[in-house]
Subunit: 424 residues, 2 copies
């Protein structure tokens, strides 16, 4: 497939953070040329604002089925009376329905890659493949049986999962020990062995709530990050979701080891986890900071544009300083920071890079008049301004239409799945 | 004009907060019937989610021209180096261009009424009339010359303005003393005389920043709210924008006097004003609380759906309590609370009410599957899910199309106006 993007403004996110005007020619999955181009192509996109696709670094994709189910509840009650009983009823077919809906939402709002963690991850990977979505698929490891399998099967099955997907163009298998409060030291050691063997990313929740920090200190005499580190899991392939309650020492340690923090401001605010992922200190220390939506059950959407705005504003307000977490730093978190960390040759628009690209229709009242475009992206845009999405060089959404996807069927299946899992 | 809404789910916002299924027939500006209806009508809207239009209680409409101009700056530098120099160049034709763009954005994202405060308010009122927007138009009073006129003209001109618009169906003239730091005691007394004479609403900034509170205490020995009260301006026709730094005593006083607070969470967070409009305490005291976007220069959009989400989440996070400012309380602030305060016979969908109504297309990934609809509206919807807008019984947007409005012309004029006012 070839794509020609004509007569557009391009937010390159290259090293100089240039914004240029021109055309882009894409073929064989990569950006072949940027400039004035008059080649023919299978698809032509015109007169748009072009930028790298957004990377959502912390998701639980199928939880979209539980959107709006059990809001405004304290975290404990939310988990024990709503989420866990519903999740216990999950089956492969419901996962498939939820995953399709979630990817539809992500792609249509400009997300071209996500880093997931859930059950039935093989199904999620398969659906991503079918829909053309780039997915870092995290096989969840816990000390409990999951809706999919007995706990003793998790480690051996994760290994099969990694072998199955490790050479795929769109899917990257990840091992995802859920958290230090759900994985024993022995389990973390087993995960470490898998990581040593396959050199995969490790995706783990870390210091989401103050309660978690105190519980882990009481149980192990170590804070969650230290506990992760003790078992060899803190390194430059570690993805730490939340870090809302980390210390300055922990900030330094994360930066030294090269792990990535995923900030999930909307979910943290909605679940009232308190604490503030210390973005200014993480930036200062040179740590990798990225953004995520978390699952739609606690967000309640999967729009990374909204997440960018929340990520910038929450810290300005907290610090009484309108200059912190500025627009450029925010868009960097959602694009190039994540791509570089993942070793994904995307996240910016440059010749030779993989074409994970989105187009926005600027002819929308919220994007007029044209002032600072980076500001418009972070503070004024909505995911619904996205008109076209290219993943791995392939057009997935064209002029807001999904090619070859029966959307009504996806809505019906998701509705049916939801009815099954939240039936009284 | 008659409108028939068929086969829809209706969030009534009536006293029982019922959500019902059925049809709505609108004629002569009002909701004539709700039920199963098969009358013919000029316009038919089908299979939508129907709710009262949103009411944006604090705006500076033409500032949309300055969207993205001077972000990430400290408040003082933002005002002195960016906003004020640009505003000094304002002319009637630029105001007209900005106002058209702002109303386009508001209407297309589901806002059916706004309470504004700016210069050239007569132009704003005229554009609102032309575009079919309901506007509480606040004639700004300050102790300085404005871009429109000398300061001595403001009070007499405000009186002419009130007389001109006081019997309009869509426009309600409001007097808007800017703040206690820009209006002397004498000016506030003059405003009070106008209010006594015409019984108009008073719209004023109050306790937006901590600096403002200290400055006013130093100058007058009174906090801003007390200063407003001293000059007779705190009553049941007073609209207090922000109140981010008010005390528990002030909460009680506002509730006793029947004034309305406008919470502007996005603008407060973006400008890093610190403080938290104390919503739980205001609710507890029985005060009227409403929501606003503030101007687009500090938001940077005019989407009241986004504002609802921020309004709920900021307090949950601040209080470590996911239960505060719940979805129902939030949608109430944006609809019925504001309408009842304004004495506007809208804000809910009931027979005999004025038809200020919006429709959302639920066939969007972010609104699927169907769980709690109030939750979907507050936490998952975007203004861009709005498909149809009815104001005063008249269809203003139909299936996302504006009837009789040249949108490209509005974009061009706004772009030109912006270039003039922010030219170096």
């Amino acid at each position: 497939m070839s794509v020609l993007i004509k007569n557009s403004v391009i937010i390159t996110q290259n090293d100089k953070r240039e914004i240029i005007e021109g055309d882009i020619y894409i073929e064989g999955g990569v950006i072949v040329e940027i400039g004035k181009i008059s080649t023919e192509a299978d698809f032509v996109i015109k007169d748009k604002l072009i930028m790298p696709g957004l990377i959502n670094m912390h998701t639980h994709v199928p939880m979209v089925l539980l959107r709006g189910y059990g809001d405004d509840l304290p975290l404990d009650e939310w988990l024990t009376t709503r989420i866990w009983p519903a999740e216990a009823k999950l089956k492969k077919e419901y996962i498939e329905a939820g995953t399709k809906l979630a990817f539809l939402e992500m792609i249509s709002t400009g997300t071209t890659a996500c880093n997931d963690m859930y059950f039935f991850e093989d199904t999620i990977a398969r659906v991503a493949r079918e829909m053309g979505m780039r997915c870092y698929a995290g096989f969840s490891i816990l000390d409990f049986d999951t809706p999919e399998m007995k706990k003793d099967m998790l480690i051996p099955e994760s290994e099969k999962f990694i072998k199955k997907w490790q050479n795929d163009e769109l899917i990257t298998p990840v091992i995802a020990p859920h958290a230090t409060y759900t994985c024993s030291p022995e389990t973390l050691e087993e995960v470490k062995e898998i990581q040593n063997k396959y050199d995969v990313f490790v995706h783990i929740h870390c210091s989401e709530t103050r309660k978690e920090v105190y519980d882990i200190m009481n149980r192990y005499g170590a804070r969650p990050l230290e506990q992760i580190d003790k078992h060899g899991l803190l390194g430059d392939k570690t993805i730490l979701a939340h870090c809302g309650w980390i210390t300055k020492e922990e900030v330094k340690k994360i930066a030294e080891r090269g792990g990535a923090v995923v900030h999930n401001p909307v979910s943290n605010m909605k679940l009232a986890t308190g604490g503030y992922t210390p973005l200014p200190e993480l930036f200062e220390a040179g740590a990798v900071v990225t953004l995520g939506t978390d699952g739609a059950a606690s967000n309640n959407k999967l729009d990374m544009f909204e997440t960018m705005k929340f990520a910038s504003l929450i810290h300005k307000h907290h610090r009484w300083d309108a200059q912190v977490v500025n627009a450029q730093e925010t868009i960097d978190m959602a694009t190039i920071n994540a791509a570089e960390f993942l070793g994904l040759n995307a996240g910016s628009i440059e010749e030779g890079k993989i074409a994970d690209i989105i187009a926005l229709d600027m002819k929308s009242p919220n994007l007029q008049p044209r002032n600072n475009l980076i500001s418009h992206i972070v503070y004024a845009a909505s995911g619904m301004n996205v008109s076209d999405v290219i993943i791995n060089g392939r057009i997935v959404m064209f002029d807001r239409e999904f090619l070859g996807i029966d959307i009504d069927r996806i809505y019906e299946d998701a509705e049916k799945a939801k009815e099954e899992i939240i039936a009284e």
